[in-house]
């Protein structure tokens, strides 16, 4: 069997074994669904509550997308500004780091105090997601081949040409890596804020559904919602990976298999 087969088959096998074990444990021990629902019950809930959960998923995904786009644009634009005007970078980069290292769970309640809920959720998603874009773009802009920079200098390239024709294309692989991380993180940011909004929240996002189901001890629905969130995260990751591959497929080493 070739490597490709195993790379698909092994995780699938792990999945089926784990689900099988889960099902067996619940059934053999007669565990009631409000303690631990069996996989079948979770699937059934997913079908019965489908409408509700799916609507909630859309709400959360919408916030995630908004947060991601703002993080992508914000991260790249900030990185360019910090790079082009060094003093601005020196002045503000530490605060970008500070914002990043402060746990978002701790910031979210404050944001909910000061901002309308929908906006607070969005800001949370942005705060978590923008930093990897900023950091990766900065790294990319700073790692351009010095001789290529010298070449641009030789031909009297303007700062704008240097940025557009050299630095941004050269930084593209790092920018895309940053975006891939940011995709997952904006989902996390949105979820964290929805959970923090929790009981006070008027929201209808998926994380809100999880919190709500928790209060009502509707454990199967919690599992179903969690499953959807996880699936959403996986889809986001794959979409961004595919986008990255598409952008780099012609030239970057990461897009080619190593020849042996």
């Amino acid at each position: 069997m070739n490597e490709r087969f195993w790379r698909a088959a092994l995780p699938a096998a792990v999945f089926f074994v784990a689900v099988g074990l889960w099902d067996a444990i619940v059934r053999l021990n007669g565990i009631p669904p409000y303690v631990l629902p069996s996989p079948r019950v979770v699937i059934a809930t997913l079908v019965v509550d489908g409408r509700l959960l799916f609507d909630s998923l859309l709400v959360t995904l919408f916030t995630t997308c908004e947060g991601f786009i703002l993080a992508a644009v914000g991260g790249i634009v900030l990185a360019i500004i910090f790079h082009q005007w060094r003093p601005v970078g020196y002045a503000f980069y530490p605060y970008a780091v500070a914002l990043q290292v402060t746990p978002i769970v701790a910031i979210a309640p404050l944001l909910l105090v000061y901002l309308p809920q929908q906006l607070a959720v969005l800001v949370c998603a942005w705060i978590v997601a923008f930093f990897p874009v900023l950091a990766n773009t900065t790294l990319g802009l700073n790692s351009v081949d010095h001789n290529l920079i010298a070449l641009f200098e030789l031909y009297k390239a303007s700062r704008r040409q240097l940025l557009w024709n050299l630095k941004l294309p050269a930084a593209l692989p790092q920018i895309l890596a940053g975006l891939r991380i940011a995709g997952g993180l904006s989902l996390i940011g949105a979820v964290v804020a929805e959970i923090a909004a929790g009981s006070a929240g008027a929201g209808s996002g998926l994380a809100y559904r999880i919190a709500e189901s928790g209060y009502r001890l509707n454990i199967p629905r919690m599992f179903a919602a969690l499953l959807l969130l996880s699936a959403a995260g996986i889809v986001i990751f794959f979409l961004l990976s595919a986008f990255s591959y598409f952008m780099l497929r012609r030239w970057h080493e990461s897009a080619f298999a190593r020849e042996r």
Binding site: N147, A150, L151, L154, Y155, K156, N165, W251, H252
Partner: protein, 258 residues
């Protein structure tokens, strides 16, 4: 050959001290004639690349100055070939060669024409649409040379361009470079640490001492062109190589004595 043609540029008392205090060059006086093929030869760390960078305007001389024969020399008058091919991996061969023209805002048809002509002259017209990663080391270097030539520069600066290539490829590129030089009649300053390569290519070899670099000897290689593989095996060639090697030894020992 020194002085046989009017100088295109002259270095007067050029010195370079780096920020960390290293004295890379001291008192370099050097005159390059129009149309000459000159090699700067010396051990690594003797500042020959620094000389090239100062001429190109990529580094500033700490002392002395570079005088150009005619006051205004324009962007594109100097072509530079680095030790590495230094290509943009995201751009095709064509786009890479076209870069200097793009940066100068040259109009489309004129640029395409120049790119096509230059690619043909280095034998790469079939690879215009290829990406650098699809090319061999020698081919990448040809692209790099094409890019330096696309603006039709008066002066071509080459910084150990073939040092990283295998010998067979290097010999081939040596020959092709000589053919191009004879065809275009441009001035070439070629930095190398290979005695054999410098003798094979140049009309004149300027020998630099190591740390701080200064001109130790200025040797003429009077063998006629065209030079080809026959020259490589000739007694003439061997004689020049011996003389240059001896001079190099002397330059090295003098530097350690100092």
């Amino acid at each position: 050959m020194t002085g046989s043609s009017p100088a295109i540029l002259t270095l007067r008392g050029v010195g370079k001290t780096f920020d960390n205090g290293t004295v890379a060059l001291r008192d370099v006086d050097l005159s390059i004639g129009e149309g000459e093929f000159v090699s700067l030869l010396g051990p690594s760390g003797c500042g020959k690349s620094t000389v090239l960078r100062i001429i190109a305007g990529l580094a500033r001389a700490s002392e002395g100055r570079v005088e150009w024969a005619d006051r205004k020399h324009e962007t594109g008058d100097i072509g530079f070939v680095f030790q590495e091919p230094t290509l943009m991996p995201w751009a095709t061969v064509e786009r890479n060669v076209r870069l200097p023209l793009d940066l100068a805002g040259v109009r489309d048809e004129r640029a395409s024409e120049a790119v096509a002509r230059t690619l043909t002259s280095v034998g790469l017209s079939e690879f215009a649409r290829a990406y650098p990663r699809e090319l061999s080391g020698g081919m990448k270097m040809r692209v790099s040379i094409a890019r330096a030539l696309v603006t039709d520069p008066r002066l071509l600066l080459m910084d150990e361009p073939f040092a990283a290539l295998d010998e067979i490829t290097r010999f081939k590129l040596n020959n092709d470079l000589l053919t191009l030089w004879r065809m275009l009649r441009r001035t070439v300053i070629f930095v190398t640490h290979s005695v054999f390569e410098s003798v094979y290519l140049s009309q004149r070899i300027v020998l630099l001492t190591p740390r701080p670099g200064r001109v130790f000897a200025d040797l003429a290689i009077d063998a006629p062109y065209p030079r080809d593989e026959g020259f490589r095996t000739s007694a003439d060639y061997a004689g020049y190589c011996r003389r240059v090697s001896e001079a190099l030894q002397k330059a090295m020992s003098e530097a350690t004595d100092a």
